[in-house]
Point group: C2
Chain length 362, copies 2
């Protein structure tokens, strides 16, 4: 593992520049010239206009799509917050490599190159050639009893994502989905959501992979206890300190995703947030630097109850709303054909002038 | 044009059989064995299970996709209900044939074979080879002053759609999107919606292709006047007589779509309703024979305000909700990659047993 440089966070915050608003205006004018009633393609038009701006007014090159799945374990699992045992993180990584998981099927179908990143699974994966080895630590610490990460660990995990964004840029990827796998990580996302959006723990804590009501009640108590430990008034931590929130109650995969969202924005790559945990990471990136939102799409609205509060905080409308709650980047990849459709319509439709079609009567 | 046989409607109502419920049960069991928390793929699981049942438990053959766009003019346009002149119906048919419209782009991208059907455009199209010539009449009659269609015209239009479903079956198409083009047809759909769902005209009448508020108010008055003429208590017509509703206030393309929805169900073809007008036709088909719902998907929720009432009446959740209001089958075709994703996940994912993954703790 590369030793985290103290300059990483500073670097993350530099060089993120919003797309020039002139492209949005030009895109709107083009969309209004196409053979359809003005605005009648709804959100497809917004998506096309935003992508036109992100791509600096050039949509001639087809999108190069990829999906990154960051895997890590969580010390908080010791508190009984998940319906599945911790071992499932390791087992699912093996399933990704064996091409057996939902994200394998969807990435293949929608032509997104899949990269599986071990940023903190509590397992020895040294012998696996197709896994990207970026383990910072075998699982984050139990945030009920201490900070989930040290400063060095946080910096290293952020850097994993940030450097992957640079590598994605070098590979000319232009649309990336950001997903995760980590038993216990909805608990982290619930704490982050409660702290950022000021919602009660019970409102933003769901059943995760499938808790029953009594187990969910227990999870809510754990979320409340974690919030009490780290964010009581005396702690001096506030929602205005996203990096410290991430360090205390995040996870290694969440930190890596935050780094990748920041890095994608820095390189002008459009990034699609997936569900609750991926969006928690994207929201922290947004809290660190609001300009990342200009490069961010919300792939879908998860069935996890906290997700909508993050989307509202971000001010992003999800492209899909299919009651999914799987993670792995599945909802983000599923939005790719919609985004592609928006771009193809933008590029290929005839204009009123070229087709000789009458305009509106008024 | 084939002369409509009096036996057509009788035939439409026969031979529509729901899929065997055993397939749904078998599909649920398979979905629960896949390497994901139970139910975590949300609506994708429902879609996969329904398609498994529609295909009689055999998803091995890839879906053969098609989209049908039925075009017709409407006499009611004389009342000033549309933002665009009537000529745009003809012009847009030419645009479809010139591959310049949104549906051309989306059908091509999502591998749906496009068929454009003239069922009643007020234009001479005899010289156009790539158009399917099924014109019943050059536009429906102005329903403000009389019935939109005679019985023969209605039967002929229904038969156009019904026979196309048979042809689709012969071509082994298994997933068809049903769209339309017809200046003035949201007015028909608004009347149908008001009558079927007992909503006030103002609630179910939108801006169509782009009316301003005063023009929309005028359209609402026209919808109210049409309802008053045809569905006042003394008329003896009720929502329980969908065929007579269709004849009086439908359109030729709406009738053809109703016939195609009935025919698709009869042949076990999955049909995707598009927006407001397409769904009005599907809802009439459902009112004629509720079993059609078993073969029907709602591609998206249109931005037209009446659409949600039709979806509620049908009891169908739309797959997409992208604020589109274009018609042409665009929202239905855009749902195809989601449906395909559901099937591929169903077919390709590993099971807990095959992947050696631990089950839930409880």
């Amino acid at each position: 593992m590369t030793v985290a440089s103290p300059a990483v966070l500073t670097e993350l915050l530099q060089d993120i520049v919003a797309p020039d608003p002139k492209w949005l205006k030009q895109a709107r004018a083009h969309l209004d010239s196409l053979t359809k009633p003005r605005g009648s393609l709804g959100r497809l038009e917004d998506i096309a206009a935003r992508m036109f701006a992100i791509r600096n007014g050039d949509l001639s090159v087809p999108l190069k799509r990829a999906v990154y799945v960051f895997a890590a374990d969580h010390g908080i699992v010791a508190e009984g917050v998940s319906a599945y045992p911790k071992e499932v993180t390791r087992q699912m990584v093996l399933n990704f490599l064996a091409i057996g998981a939902a994200i394998n099927v969807l990435a293949n179908l929608h032509q997104a190159e899949l990269t599986v990143v071990d940023v903190g699974v509590d397992a020895n994966f040294e012998q696996l050639p197709r896994l990207l080895h970026k383990k910072v630590r075998r699982g984050s610490r139990n945030m009920l009893h201490g900070d989930a990460m040290t400063e060095d660990e946080l910096n290293s995990a952020l850097q994993v994502g940030f450097e992957l964004a640079s590598a994605a840029h070098e590979q000319q990827q232009t649309l990336i989905a950001i997903g995760e796998m980590g038993i216990g990580n909805t608990t982290s996302a619930s704490v982050i959501t409660a702290v950022l959006t000021h919602q009660p723990a019970a409102t933003v804590t769901g059943k995760g992979t499938g808790l029953d009501q009594s187990a969910r009640d227990r999870k809510i108590s754990v979320v409340e206890a974690v919030i009490g430990k780290h964010f009581a008034l005396r702690s001096g931590i506030s929602a205005s300190d996203p990096i410290e929130i991430l360090r205390r109650v995040g996870g290694l995969e969440i930190a890596a995703m935050t780094g990748m969202v920041l890095g994608a924005a820095r390189h002008g790559i459009a990034a699609i947030a997936d569900g609750f945990i991926s969006t928690a990471a994207a929201t922290l990136a947004y809290a660190i630097n609001p300009t990342v939102k200009e490069y961010l799409f919300a792939g879908h609205r998860s069935d996890e109850p906290g997700h909508r509060f993050l989307l509202e905080y971000l001010g992003l409308d999800p492209i899909l709303d299919l009651e999914m709650r799987l993670g792995e980047g599945t909802g983000a990849v599923l939005a790719m054909p919609i985004i592609e459709s928006a771009l193809e319509v933008y590029k290929q439709m005839a204009t009123f002038a070229s087709a000789g079609i009458s305009g509106a009567l008024t």
